[in-house]
Symmetry: C2
Subunit: 350 residues, 2 copies
């Protein structure tokens, strides 16, 4: 089966057209079946393509001049869905011209445009943004929602669990990923009513392709004991940014400490392989690709400041989601849970 082509919003991101095109080209050097629709300013895309002769037969350019700004409000961006590179990339997924879209642009605008153009899947009330978090375990942890939905009820959280598990199965290859709800304690009585209700629903469910293991506290996300962390968009965003900020805080402290004396500087030079390993493990470019789950189509958000390697990773994640048919997996699990049952229990639990 041939892989559907991937629409690349060439204009989004802080690093510009060159990084988006180079990233796509790098991914293609590793997977020669990849094909692209490159959306954005034709002259700049052509200039970037000149460095990648292998891309000539594998990509088509869709020219447009309008670009969604990084600080633009989603509602404002929505009005230019037909003229911007982001809007046109998503539209190519809607029409079936492409299988998926990748953008490094404004996350809120990307979510709003994707939702409006692609609509949520049958059985899903709200899409969610999922990302991969590094861990001490064998694989990255899937965490969702990361900011698409500020407030969520039990029903939303159960749907996020199903979507996150489907994504984790593709990323980790596990048949039944370990799923937990983010909470402020592991006892049954902890957290909001919605979290407790979601836990009850997931505990009772049978036949799902996951192991639901209750609650996880935020200091245990990266210990390698969980594959999927489910939460509302507010807490998820707080947790993700706290993790990023704290990792940067520690590495900044380390840098200052190593610069504090000649002896430390020498130690740093000698141990460079170790600190490079650390840097590699923490580099967000190695875990790049936030995925919008729950839409009729695959949309991947590459980090705004991702480098060529980061964009290539986002493109490769996108291709795997297409190959493994993420959407079908979610539909199958929703059927297993019994959508009506979820609706009834969710309503009763309110």
């Amino acid at each position: 089966m041939s892989l559907p082509r991937i629409a690349i919003d060439a204009m989004g991101g802080d690093e510009g057209v060159r990084v988006m095109i180079s990233g796509a080209a790098l991914a293609r050097r590793r997977h020669e079946q990849f094909k692209f629709l490159l959306v954005g300013d034709e002259a700049r895309i052509k200039a970037a393509l000149a460095e990648h002769p292998g891309m000539a037969g594998a990509s088509e350019i869709l020219h447009c001049e309008d670009v969604v700004g990084g600080e633009e409000r989603p509602t404002q961006a929505l009005r230019r869905a037909k003229t911007t590179s982001m809007g046109l990339a998503i539209n190519a997924v809607k029409t079936g011209d492409c299988g998926a879209a990748v953008s490094a642009g404004n996350t809120g605008a990307l979510m709003a445009m994707s939702k409006l153009a692609l609509r949520t899947m049958p059985g899903i009330d709200r899409p969610a943004l999922a990302a991969l978090i590094p861990s001490l375990g064998d694989n990255d942890v899937v965490m969702l929602d990361l900011g698409a939905n500020t407030e969520c009820d039990a029903r939303n959280l159960v749907q996020f669990a199903i979507m996150g598990a489907a994504y984790s199965r593709i990323v980790t290859g596990k048949d039944a990923p370990r799923v937990r709800l983010l909470n402020i304690g592991t006892e049954d009585i902890k957290g909001t009513g919605d979290i407790q209700d979601a836990a009850a629903l997931l505990r009772e469910a049978t036949g799902l392709s996951m192991q639901f293991e209750g609650f996880v506290e935020a200091d245990k996300i990266s210990r390698g004991e969980v594959d999927v962390v489910v939460t509302d968009g507010f807490s998820g965003n707080i947790a993700l940014k706290a993790i990023e900020g704290s990792a940067r805080f520690v590495t900044d402290l380390l840098k200052n400490a190593f610069a504090s004396s000649l002896r430390s500087k020498i130690g740093f030079l000698v141990s460079r392989p170790a600190t490079e390993l650390l840097k590699h493990h923490l580099d967000p470019n190695n875990h790049n690709g936030g995925v919008f789950l729950g839409l009729n189509g695959v949309v991947v958000k590459s980090h705004g400041s991702a480098n060529m390697q980061g964009v290539a990773n986002a493109v490769e994640v996108t291709a795997r989601l297409l190959e493994e048919d993420l959407t079908d997996r979610i539909v199958a699990d929703l059927a297993e849970l019994g959508e009506d049952r979820l609706r009834d229990n969710g309503a009763a639990a309110k």
Copy 2:
């Protein structure tokens, strides 16, 4: 003015009586005016005191046999407020025998018992748990609430801001600490209605001893750009634990990396002063002492796994709060804001 004595729950914490007594004794060696009421098993306290002759004239023992368990539900612990070391330590504050209580025991039970015995201050609806977070700046950051209140409205958040600023003034010596509300973005439209309402109230208020500077995202908590971070107990607990977990993740990775080759091991040995500096900065014992704000009396939670140094820090924080009269400062700022005004606006904003 002589300092009121401090009640020490000698039985709480994972490390036992010896650590609590040694910690108090260490604090007393630095500040000889400190006096204590040591609450718990007399024989074990006496055994621990034997190593600290200086404590003889500075401490009295209040014997009891009952102890609140680490996993006990707060409601269950409440029934034994009159028999447990934690309950009796708090009661000594209520009767005026002591100025403050320090415990390393069960946080939920400590909060519930303190609230019931000491009641909230006039003008404060709910007490909050505040702690100090290390930062790249000149001083630690005060963050609250950290888990006492799972859900909070605008009015609660404004009160937390006032209490956090009063605590920060004592810790940092600044006249007007920089206060921000934790949110998932810095634009006005971000977050829940309660957060937006709280921001509006704080922006309009004049005469408060703080600079209110809007929102802060969780990755900026430790950058040194803010003195007080205000949030509900759910998000605060998530943020605090995510920060702790991520710092431990990075240091674990670093340890693994340094152990990965002989060269790295040598580098580690040479740069030990640098890594020790890092360890010192991240050691929770150096930032120990969660404070319950908003009660008629000072109650400080020492970390359950704190060592002697950590307990000493918690005792010293307690003494500073007594010396600087935290409670009076909060009352003065509430008067400045106009308690009725807060009530009216808070209600109107709902």
